[in-house]
C-alpha cells in the first residue's frame, strides 16, 4: 500500500521532503520576507524551516491535509528565535549558498525599494502588537491561512486565534492615524486571512534575536 505524504515525511523519506520543498518553499519564503522585511534573511528562514521540519518530522500529525500550516508554524518558531535555530543547524547553515542580496533586474530592484517602504511602515505598527497577536495576524493575513490552519500552525485552539485576531484588529484600528494609516491608504493591498496581505513584521522576540 502506498504511504501517504505525511507518513513518508514521518519516515524520513528525502523524496517526500523534496516534494514539500517544491510545493511550499515559496510560500514559506513569501511569509518570511513579509515578517523579516529582508529578502536575503528570508532565504535563511526557508532553509532553517525545512531543517527544523526534518528534525521534528516524528511530531507531524498523521491526519490528512496540507502540510503548509505545519511548515508555517515551524517558520513562525524559527522567526521567533532565528539565532537558536541557526545554532542548532550550524553545520548545515555554513554550507548554504551565499545569499542573493542584489536583485537580478532593475525592475525588481525598484519594486524592492517600494516594498521596503511598505514593510517598514507596517512594521512600525506591528511592533505595537503583542507577539502572539502578530503571529496570528501574519499567518492569517500574509500567509492566507484560515483560522483552523493558523490554530494548527501555532498549536492553539481556534477560539484563541479568533480572539487574538480580533484584538489585533482593534489595536491596529487605533493606530490608523499613526504612521501606518497615513502611508497605507495610498498603497495597493493584497489578499489576507484567507485573503489579506501585509508586510511582515517579526514577532518581538524574533527581531531581537535575528542572526
Amino acid at each position: 500500500m502506498e504511504l501517504s505524504l505525511r507518513a513518508r515525511l514521518q519516515a524520513g523519506d528525502p523524496v517526500a521532503f523534496g516534494q514539500i520543498f517544491d510545493e511550499h518553499a515559496r510560500a514559506v519564503y513569501r511569509y518570511a520576507v513579509r515578517v523579516t522585511g529582508d529578502w536575503a534573511e528570508a532565504e535563511d528562514v526557508v532553509s532553517l524551516t525545512y531543517l527544523e521540519a526534518w528534525r521534528l518530522r516524528k511530531r507531524l500529525r498523521p491526519d490528512a491535509g496540507s502540510v503548509r500550516p505545519w511548515l508555517l508554524g515551524i517558520a513562525t518558531n524559527v522567526l521567533r528565535n532565528t539565532r537558536r535555530a541557526a545554532r542548532r543547524h550550524q553545520k548545515a547553515m555554513t554550507r548554504l549558498p551565499p545569499r542573493r542580496v542584489v536583485p537580478d533586474f532593475a525592475d525588481e530592484l525598484v519594486g524592492r525599494m517600494a516594498d521596503t517602504e511598505l514593510l517598514a511602515a507596517a512594521r512600525v505598527a506591528l511592533t505595537r502588537l503583542r507577539p502572539a497577536e502578530r503571529e496570528v495576524l501574519a499567518l492569517c493575513v500574509w500567509a492566507a491561512l484560515e483560522h483552523a490552519e493558523v490554530a494548527e500552525a501555532l498549536g492553539v485552539p481556534v477560539g484563541t486565534v479568533r480572539s487574538r485576531l480580533s484584538r489585533a484588529r482593534r489595536r491596529l484600528r487605533q493606530l490608523t492615524d499613526d504612521e501606518l494609516g497615513r502611508t497605507s491608504k495610498t498603497r495597493q493591498r493584497e489578499p489576507g486571512c484567507g485573503q489579506l496581505t501585509g508586510d511582515g513584521s517579526p514577532a518581538d522576540d524574533s527581531i531581537e534575536e535575528k542572526i
Binding site: R34, W54, P97, R100, V141, G181, C193
Partner: protein
C-alpha cells in the same frame, strides 16, 4: 467557515499593507533545495553509522549475556541455551557494510587508459577492498562507509569511465560512470571539489540510503558548457538498482 469574515478582512487590508508578492527565484529555490536534501542524506547516513557502532558495541555484550545464560543453564537454572543471540549479533556486525550495494564480482582492470598501470586493490579479508589505485584515480574507503573518489589532476592520465565504474562496483558502490553531462536530471548535482594538488575529490556513501539519486560532475564549473570529456558519476538509488533521474521541480508561485 473558518476564514475571517470578509468585512474583517477588508478592514485588516486597510490597516495592513503587504509588499508585492515576493518570489523566490527558481535558481535560488534549486540551490536551497539541493543543500537541504544533501544535508538530510548526510544526516541519515550519520545516524546509520551510529547505529552500526551501537551494533558493534552490543556484540560483545550480547555474547557475554549468551555465555552467562549458558553458564546459568549449566548450573541448572535454565533449561534452554539461546546462544545464537550472541553469534547472530556478531555476524551482523561483521557483515555490516556493503552487503547489498551492487555488483562486486568485477575482476581486476584489464583495459582502458587507467589500466596502463593495472588497478591494485587492497582487499580486506572476506570483504571488499578498502583501496583501489590506478594512475588516473584512487578509491578509498572512508569512515562512515563512504568511498572517496580522487580523480588525479589531468595530465596524469585520463580515467577510463568503464573501468572506474567496475572498480567502484568492486568497492561496493553501484554507480554509472560516463563521459559528458547526463541528459536526465538527478535530484542532486554536485561538483567534485579540487584539492591542493588540483585533483578532483568527491565522496559517496557506499550504501545508498533512501531513494536519492545523485550525480557528481568532475569538472571545474557546472555552469560552463559541458565538456564532452567531463567525467560524470551517477549514484544509484536502491541497492542493485540502476541510477535514476528525477524531473526538475515545477515552478510555483
Amino acid at each position: 467557515m473558518d476564514a475571517t469574515p470578509q468585512p474583517e478582512l477588508e478592514e485588516l487590508a486597510q490597516l495592513l499593507l503587504a509588499p508585492a508578492d515576493p518570489v523566490l527565484p527558481t535558481d535560488r529555490h534549486l540551490l536551497l533545495k539541493e543543500r537541504f536534501i544533501s544535508n538530510l542524506t548526510e544526516q541519515a547516513h550519520d545516524s546509520r553509522s551510529r547505529r552500526r557502532i551501537v551494533i558493534r558495541a552490543a556484540a560483545p555484550i550480547a555474547l557475554t549475556a549468551a555465555v552467562a545464560v549458558v553458564a546459568a543453564a549449566g548450573a541448572g537454572f535454565l533449561t534452554s541455551t539461546p546462544t545464537t543471540t550472541g553469534h547472530a549479533t556478531i555476524s551482523a556486525a561483521r557483515s555490516a557494510g556493503p552487503s547489498s550495494a551492487g555488483p562486486r564480482s568485477a575482476g581486476p582492470s584489464s583495459a582502458g587508459p587507467s589500466s596502463a598501470v593495472p588497478s591494485s586493490a587492497v582487499p580486506r579479508v572476506g570483504t571488499l577492498p578498502e583501496h583501489i589505485r590506478t594512475v588516473a584515480y584512487a578509491l578509498d574507503l572512508q569512515a562512515g562507509d563512504f568511498i572517496k573518489i580522487t580523480v588525479h589532476n589531468p595530465g596524469t592520465g585520463t580515467p577510463d569511465a568503464a573501468q572506474l565504474q567496475k572498480d567502484l562496483a568492486r568497492m561496493g558502490v553501484n554507480a554509472t560512470v560516463s563521459r559528458g553531462i547526463t541528459h536526465c536530471t538527478p535530484q542532486l548535482w554536485n561538483l567534485a571539489e579540487r584539492d591542493q594538488n588540483g585533483d578532483y575529490v568527491a565522496t559517496v556513501p557506499r550504501q545508498i540510503i533512501f531513494k536519492y539519486p545523485e550525480t557528481i560532475i568532475f569538472s571545474p564549473d557546472l555552469s560552463s558548457d559541458p565538456d564532452p570529456a567531463t567525467l560524470t558519476v551517477s549514484v544509484g538509488t536502491l541497492p542493485g538498482a540502476e541510477p535514476t533521474c528525477a524531473p526538475l521541480p515545477s515552478n510555483q508561485g
